[in-house]
Point group: C2
Chain length 596, copies 2
């Protein structure tokens, strides 16, 4: 169950698709060129392959456990997290001012993938801490920043996001946790939060909970929600830890996957009130939360790519080792490794094409994020922000949905052995299923894509992307290779399908919301499919050039074959999706609830 | 987690699609008309809903356990199996001569679904016993039949299928278990078998193992494999149980799902040799095994439908109960049950359409089985046999693959709660994953579809089915309703895609096997999709007629809506599959094994 980080593919994307040179031309990122990327990724691979990956299966066998309010993580996790923190990995993308490395997301996202391939359960702790850091950077007062940020960035403390309550999941307007203002400017927080990832654990000295709650007298609904910092231990003026706060873990969940990651039920204020500190202004909590959620959503998309990569590597290994049946073409006159069988190749190529396609998409989105946040030119920032915002639901939704298919194929390649837990393939299948659910289900991502990302600007951003795809088609045709022409043909068909759907969505969201939202998830899948296929089309062009220059023949030929496979087998789904979206809304909505 | 057998849908299929009247016109089935079907299904539902279904989640929590060679099943299983046997359910489809009820598969298949919806792990014991009965009926000597059949049919003893060995899974030519002839005509069997479902348990007095092994000196490969009966306890002349045979369970597997079903490693002959009795003739074992495997494959397909139905019912219940967010169309001015949200409806309709489509396909296939085996006219038998044989890989492959998607959607509808084991939705997701693997993986089904079912007759049977689909299209158009016309349009597109692929398969299997087998699973998915959609098209016609006659309006309207949904959202995938099969083989086979 070893893991090898796909550095070559990552660096190919970072160099040729994301354009690290352009990122490094942004002030502040001068040192973040290809060489840095390579050095960082190699160090990252070392720690994760050697220390964190071996704990993945261990965490499945020996999950986090709860006793009397104390959560004990899987043996080895605490020490591994210490190494992770000491290596400076928690601060990789965070500001130098607070002890971070200040690297661009273009590099950081690849590190996030490596960590999550190594151990998704483990990786959730840093992922949530990133979210807490993001929230404090965005909206925290200077005082809060001074108290909390450095400790979070160093990995000495960890962070959580406390949104969900039993009655409030996707619908945060139903949040009931309440905060009472105190004379000293702090608040007392009362309520129950569920599904809190790493809400309690033994890997850090303190846990900084970011909590959504209502201040007394706040308006009903989402406009009355505020964001609070509620630390597990109060912090003294000198930064040392003070009294235990009134937030307690009353249980952790028994889950299908990511078992090592403790999912806590947290009780706030059962003994007089948990001390909390307002982040930003009252009643703007959801707005701040969305900022950190966007970062977390992108990261969850990367988790999908990560678990897909791990499942792929495992399946390839098994397919090369397992000997069974003669090849159908008679090329070997004896039982052969199953990788010689066309259907096994088809499964492996499907896993590979999805994973590489989504990785390319995520890498390009990361570069847009960097430009959107740090480019000196306002127009460039705006343009990149629109692109990145469009990408977030695709990276989150498409990459996680594809990870379900990929991890299922991973089990399938193993045959009966795949169903035996000790083999390890089943863990990826079980772990992956959370990804389409947390940080907003695929439907929530699709609502975002339809409402905020497509209908709001009348489909402009979407059409802009389609125009870029068209340019890639032209370049593919101009390149003169048959393979490129095939990919161009499939890209074109997918793009035309996409445009039809964008017109449908932009034109009908207000007038016929039921019709549009009936096709929202298929729209997301079509858009994600197109963008991932487009990036592989770009990759094919690069690979053709590199081949012509005699660069890394084996890698470039594989990239071309993978792009072609993606076009033939995955992009070819796009026109069917268009049909079901544009023609299929009536049948989604035909039955009344009582007819089910 | 209650379960209600979908009797109305089952009886609709049995009456209108499978044509129970025609089945009941076959000599021997005179009493097996619609009334009998209804009475049997109602009794079946009673036992399963009341006794067997409540043990499903229990079996997941408290799986079968092994200690010192003894397997103890989940508390309650032994008593439930006693009730199952005493009710005569094991013998439902087996000959009256051996104590069975002699009912047609058209009725029996519905009972198989009910049992598997109630409890897939439990149902595997009867399923394997059915296989053992089938093998003995097909090839057993009169003596073997006399000793074993009645006890198996009554459920007093149970049966197993012993095929797999560590090195021999899909490739049975690699079987090494050996059988040494003894002077008294029996054999001594030596070897290790793995993945033996209910290979050891405490629910019956004796276990009758059907074992593939090689007689000394037999030819290499599949032509040297024979089939043996190896009972757990030897049977005395008077039918009483004698000495313990030398077959022992050395461990059971730790699996992702169907945990209550013990999956045994059996050791034969470690203490001098397990006594075995040859079934039929030496070296024809695989042929006999294929007969029982065909029955088992059909049954596993029904398991897919069963677990999909159970997941659907659970998801519907949750979607009606869980209140979250306002409907997008503003029809309710408050948070509403999530079944009001279009994407939840889309998910539920997808689950329902797949399940009803596959159920209809399986029901029609069952009627063909009955005619193929029992119709007095030889031509009719032959025609139905060809149809049934074509259906087996579709029922097995398509119904189980769809069950992965349906059980995944089942979890998804539950949101975060779906990932918590106590909710129960995750169990269906974990259980279902074995279905695309055992009794021949989807790829093995697809090989069968390509080789024996399509290429062998030059696509004749396939084209015959396409011609029948075309007739349904014509009838849909002639019916005059808009909905029927839409379904006809999608059916036509899917049928034309299917014909292209059949031509591709029939024309290239010999000359370009790698190209054809690269698309074998997509071909299976396309064929299954078409046939299930076709049956729902037929169902729509019936429902329109019934509506016109004022019959059961709610049910008939739902059937029409489901058929329409199937056409819009699932049949619409067919043309894309054609493209990836016919154009996509090169990219499947492009990379050499070392490039992975």
């Amino acid at each position: 169950m070893s893991y090898t980080a796909p550095l070559k593919d990552m660096l190919f994307n970072i160099e040729h698709l994301a354009g690290i040179d352009q990122v490094a031309s942004i002030p502040g990122f001068e040192d973040a060129g290809l060489e840095t990327a390579q050095a960082v990724l190699e160090e990252c691979a070392k720690l994760n392959e050697g220390v964190i990956a071996p704990l993945n299966w261990e965490g499945d066998k020996n999950p986090s456990s709860w006793k009397d309010g104390v959560v004990t993580t899987t043996p080895g996790f605490k020490d591994a997290f210490k190494q992770y923190a000491e290596g400076g990995w928690q601060g990789l993308q965070h500001p130098v001012d607070f002890g971070g490395q200040g690297l661009p997301k273009t590099i950081g996202a690849a590190c996030t993938e490596i960590l999550n391939s190594a151990n998704m359960s483990f990786a959730l702790c840093p992922l949530l801490t990133d979210g807490a850091i993001e929230a404090l950077l965005t909206a925290g007062s200077d005082e809060l920043k001074a108290i909390y940020l450095e400790k979070l960035v160093s990995g000495q403390w960890t962070g959580t996001m406390n949104l969900t309550e039993p009655q409030a999941g996707s619908d945060l307007s139903l949040v009931r946790t309440r905060a009472e203002p105190q004379p000293d400017g702090s608040y007392k927080v009362f309520g129950t939060k569920i599904f809190i990832t790493y809400g309690e654990h033994d890997m850090a000295e303190n846990i900084v909970h970011l909590v959504l709650a209502r201040v007394q007298g706040a308006p009903e609904g989402v406009k009355g929600i505020s964001l609070f910092v509620v630390p597990k231990f109060l912090v003294n003026g000198d930064g040392s830890l003070g009294a235990r706060n009134d937030v307690h873990c009353v249980s952790i969940e028994h889950k299908m996957g990511i078992k090592a990651s403790p999912t806590a039920v947290l009780q706030f204020g059962d003994h007089g009130g948990a001390v909390g500190y307002l982040v930003g202004q009252e009643n703007r909590g959801l707005e701040y939360m969305f900022i950190m959620m966007n970062a977390a959503r992108y990261a969850v998309g990367v988790q999908g790519i990560a678990v897909a990569e791990r499942a792929y590597q495992k399946a390839v290994q098994y397919a090369k080792d397992r000997v069974q049946s003669r090849p159908v073409d008679g090329s070997i006159n004896a039982s052969a490794a199953i990788i010689h069988h066309p259907d096994v190749k088809r499964m492996l190529m499907t896993m590979r094409a999805y994973t590489e396609g989504c990785r390319a998409m995520a890498s390009v989105a990361a570069a847009a994020y960097d430009a959107a946040h740090h480019h000196p030119d306002a127009d460039t920032r705006k343009q990149n922000a629109a692109f990145y915002e469009f990408m977030v639901p695709l990276v989150k939704g498409y990459s996680t949905e594809m990870s379900l298919e990929v991890t299922s194929l991973g089990v399938q390649v193993h045959g009966g052995m795949g169903f035996i837990e000790e083999t390890g393939a089943a863990q990826y299948y079980r772990d992956a299923k959370i990804l389409t659910i947390y940080e907003g289900t695929t439907a929530i991502q699709a609502n975002d894509l339809v409402g905020r990302k497509t209908a709001r600007d009348g489909g402009q951003t979407a059409k802009g992307i389609a125009a870029q795809v068209e340019q890639t088609e032209a370049a593919l045709r101009a390149s003169g290779s048959d393979t490129a022409a095939v990919v161009a043909k499939r890209l074109q068909a997918a793009r035309l399908a996409f445009i039809d759907v964008v017109d449908f969505v932009a034109g009908n969201t207000k007038a016929s919301p039921n019709a549009v939202f009936a096709g929202s998830v298929p729209y997301l899948m079509l858009a994600g499919n197109l963008v991932a296929g487009w990036q592989l089309g770009r990759a094919l062009l690069v690979a053709q050039d590199q081949l012509a220059q005699g660069q890394d023949e084996a890698f470039m030929r594989s990239k071309i074959a993978t792009a072609r496979f993606y076009a033939d087998h995955l992009l070819s789904k796009a026109p069917g999706l268009r049909d079901s979206i544009v023609d299929g809304a009536d049948s989604v909505n035909a039955l009344a609830p009582e007819a089910f």
